[in-house]
């Protein structure tokens, strides 16, 4: 469990990036922080592995205050996946994945064996082990990034817009892959995105942020969709338009659903067992 208690961050230049943020991120669940650019998502995420230190407030991982943990040690037990994959360009895929285990003193052979397994886990062909990052597509690079994040089998996986820079088809693919992974691995995932659809798809808990990391609303996707807490949230999730504003129309006695753009979204049927 990750717990923020009244955490604030003011950068040296005076920017108040996070203002009095409190939140519990339950273990083995995916918490998605979603908000527009500059709302403080990255800052919040990076406070968890001390890439950014809070100016005030407390941040605990399983009851342990992170400020008491040495940053290098802390980071080695937390997976981190970033938008541009952040792979080391001069190292082969297999060495990139094995980086942190090697830093922790795992013998090379063993670390490579594990790296190959992880390539299977994230759906990468083992043939690519010898390639360099520049020889991979964007989607493949992100998979390597995820594999590297998982290399030490961390309890916590931080993901900062990991699929933001790949094309929509690949993104959909990677999202499904992450859902599958999460079913298998049961990590505590903190996922940052500015895409509300992605947030609703991946999040057990979705936290909608306004500027300064202020929480506009948090809850399950269903709760947020059912009861947007404010006009801001309603408009952010698009509750009143497009594919989320469904209406029932009756055609020849059958009820069909039409979305806000007038497109046919489906047919109304009896809800089956969940």
């Amino acid at each position: 469990m990750i717990e923020f208690r009244s955490v604030s961050k003011r950068f040296d230049d005076g920017t108040l990036a996070v203002d009095d943020f409190s939140l519990v991120m339950p273990s083995r669940q995916t918490t998605v922080l979603v908000g527009s650019s500059g709302s403080g998502k990255t800052t919040l995420l990076r406070m968890i592995n001390r890439m950014v230190d809070a100016t005030s407030g407390e941040l605990e991982i399983d009851g342990e205050n992170v400020s008491t943990i040495e940053p290098v040690q802390l980071r080695r037990r937390i997976g981190y996946v970033m938008q541009n994959s952040g792979l080391l360009p001069h190292r082969r895929v297999i060495d990139n994945i094995a980086t942190v285990p090697r830093l922790n003193g795992v013998p090379k052979k063993q670390a490579h064996e594990r790296a190959l397994e992880l390539m299977d886990t994230v759906g990468l062909d083992r043939d690519m082990a010898e390639r360099y990052p520049s020889q991979l597509s964007g989607g493949q690079q992100q998979r390597v990034g995820v594999a590297r994040g998982l290399a030490v089998d961390p309890n916590i996986l931080l993901m900062d817009e990991p699929f933001g820079a790949v094309d929509p088809i690949v993104r959909a693919d990677l999202q499904q892959e992450l859902l599958r992974l999460q079913r298998e691995l049961d990590k505590t995932v903190v996922f940052v995105t500015h895409d509300i659809d992605e947030a609703f798809l991946l999040g057990d808990q979705v936290v909608i942020l306004e500027k300064g990391g202020r929480i506009a609303q948090k809850g399950t996707p269903a709760e947020i969709l059912a009861h947007p807490a404010s006009d801001f949230v309603a408009s952010f999730i698009g509750a009143d338009r497009g594919k989320r504003a469904l209406s029932i129309q009756t055609i020849d006695g059958a009820q069909v659903l039409v979305d806000g753009d007038g497109n046919l979204a489906g047919r109304l049927v009896e809800a089956g067992p969940a």
Binding site: L74, R75, G86, T99, L103, S134
Partner: protein, 245 residues
């Protein structure tokens, strides 16, 4: 052309290849001062350049030193130091002047090599849990190596050429033959020695050019089109793409 023939004859004359003031001895002296100055300069400039490049602090210092010092009039400096330090310390003071000459390009190369690395790569390395030393040695140094070698290359060229001046303070080197050749009007000797200096410079230049090329990490050199699986297994066996400098 006659002069060049004479110079050639001087160069191949066995007499000039034996004894205390012979060509091999002069080359040896030349290389000795070059090596000493380069070693000293590298020991100062590389750590300093890396420090500045890693921390991002003192950038102005690096730019300032490389810019200003490049314009130093070597010859004047040499005499100044000889006069200041006195005739007994001609050797050290000459090496010191040569070091001053070599430091700016090395410093610039060491610093720029780190400076041009994508900040996100370094950020990723840090967020994985690399210590600052590990970031330096495992990420910054390998990625910055080509530019550092580029700096060493231009420093070596300048030093090899400038060591010629050591003859003016009676330290030998190939400059000795040039100075003596001018004084005695034996232009074959002067030109022959000058040619040797040029050859040495070209040799070093070629050597560093090769080093520079092979210092580019394979993953950086390998473009999308290159498939490593089909290339020989030697670590740096692929050389089809040009080094980025």
């Amino acid at each position: 052309m006659n002069l060049f023939v004479d110079a050639w004859l001087w160069l191949v004359d066995p007499v000039n290849w034996q004894g205390s003031g012979s060509i091999p001895v002069r080359i040896g002296e030349h290389l000795f001062y070059t090596g000493l100055a380069m070693l000293g300069a590298a020991l100062v400039a590389i750590p300093l350049g890396w420090l500045i490049g890693h921390t991002g602090r003192g950038r102005e210092l690096a730019v300032g030193i490389s810019g200003a010092a490049r314009a130093l009039p070597t010859f004047g400096l040499l005499f100044l130091f000889v006069m200041l330090i006195g005739v007994t310390l001609r050797g050290p003071s000459t090496v010191f002047v040569l070091m001053l000459l070599a430091i700016p390009p090395i410093l610039a190369g060491a610093y720029a090599g780190l400076e041009v690395i994508d900040r996100r790569t370094i950020d990723a390395a840090r967020s994985m849990g690399m210590t600052e030393w590990q970031i330096l040695w495992k990420v910054e140094v390998p990625l910055g190596l080509p530019l550092l070698i580029g700096g060493l290359r231009s420093a070596t060229l300048q030093v090899v050429a400038t060591v010629t001046l050591a003859a003016y303070v009676n330290l030998g080197g190939l400059g000795y033959d040039i100075v003596q050749g001018i004084q005695l009007r034996s232009y074959d000797q002067m030109l022959g020695a000058a040619i040797l200096v040029i050859l040495l410079a070209l040799l070093f230049d070629a050597l560093f050019a090769v080093l520079e090329r092979y210092a580019v990490p394979r993953g950086v050199r390998a473009g999308r089109d290159t498939d490593v699986r089909t290339t020989p297994t030697g670590r740096r066996a692929t050389a089809e793409l040009t080094a980025t400098t």
